[in-house]
Symmetry: C2
Subunit: 184 residues, 2 copies
């Protein structure tokens, strides 16, 4: 069995986590890996309906995602988590809990995310209709230990994907393309 691991995408809302998660999923599946995307919003809808966006509730939500991630990683799955994960202390918790963990920081300025605002969430947060919204009335702490950092405001999604894949190869989490046959 191949060794599972987790790719944890952290970044502001609208920084491109879900888009990149799906691109990564395709790329890794085409390399023959078992891949599961865990999207923060989807997990909230299925598992954590009762949780809000206070720091305590975020902590519970993210630790549950980490718990499920670990179960999947144990069975050789590459788990891609797409969740804001705004607090450094909680990132350290999920890192410790998951074990095989690669953090990817989507470093995208708030102004860019605000101008994108695909779901209209920033607009609602600015109007006071959503509370504890990261970047508006809740902090996003800059990741201090991310293995990979990308800049989705300068680079296209495809370029970001390529950078992540190269970094994963460098970190020896995946094999360079073309080495697949040699390694079997």
């Amino acid at each position: 069995m191949r060794k599972g691991f987790c790719i944890w995408l952290t970044g502001l809302s609208a920084s491109g986590k879900t888009t990149l998660a799906r691109l990564l999923e395709s790329a890794l599946v085409s390399r023959g890996l078992m891949v599961q995307v865990l999207d923060g919003d989807e997990i909230r809808a299925n598992l954590n309906q009762e949780l809000g966006f206070s720091k305590a509730d975020r902590e519970i939500n993210l630790n549950r995602i980490a718990y499920i991630t670990k179960l999947l990683v144990r069975h050789g799955v590459v788990v891609i988590v797409a969740a804001i994960t705004p607090y450094e202390s909680i990132r350290q918790q999920v890192r410790a809990r998951v074990g095989d963990y690669v953090e990817v920081f989507l470093n995208c300025p708030l102004e860019v995310c605000l101008s994108r605002d695909p779901k209209g969430l920033y607009r609602k947060a600015l109007a006071g209709e959503i509370k504890n919204f990261t970047g508006i009335d809740d902090p996003f702490e800059i990741p201090r230990s991310a293995e990979i950092e990308i800049r989705p405001y300068c680079d296209s999604p495809d370029k970001c994907l390529e950078d992540i894949l190269h970094s994963l190869e460098r970190l020896q989490r995946i094999l360079p393309l073309g080495m697949k046959i040699l390694s079997n």
Copy 2:
């Protein structure tokens, strides 16, 4: 990749679900399968700390277990769930949600479970210290659609295990021993 599926053990507290889950796990791992036990109590401790034992809370708890089960089954894991699951309507829900689902009913009379009471829970429930305890002040509805039924009060754990393995072979969920090489 082998096809994953779920073995859902339903029965009263102290009917032997956890013991049998561990025996099944060993037997299936030794047949080369990827196996994950999801124990109801463990999931409550890790994922569902806020939930109690009302019917509504049990429903949420079991649907979350079903959600995680489905994620694992998708990647070829055989998931063994050990959870009382006392209501037929909820068993139907998790069956539909998981899809590849085999229900095993541990048919053990309440009197036997009461006399075992390894964790002292029945004693507490009878003393009124635990509310909504299945078999005492909460019902256990007899499963109507279980694929497999065992009687852990007449048969030893090893005999129960053997019966389940034979039934899983008959249901074509696992290969009969000795057919492993032929099927590869």
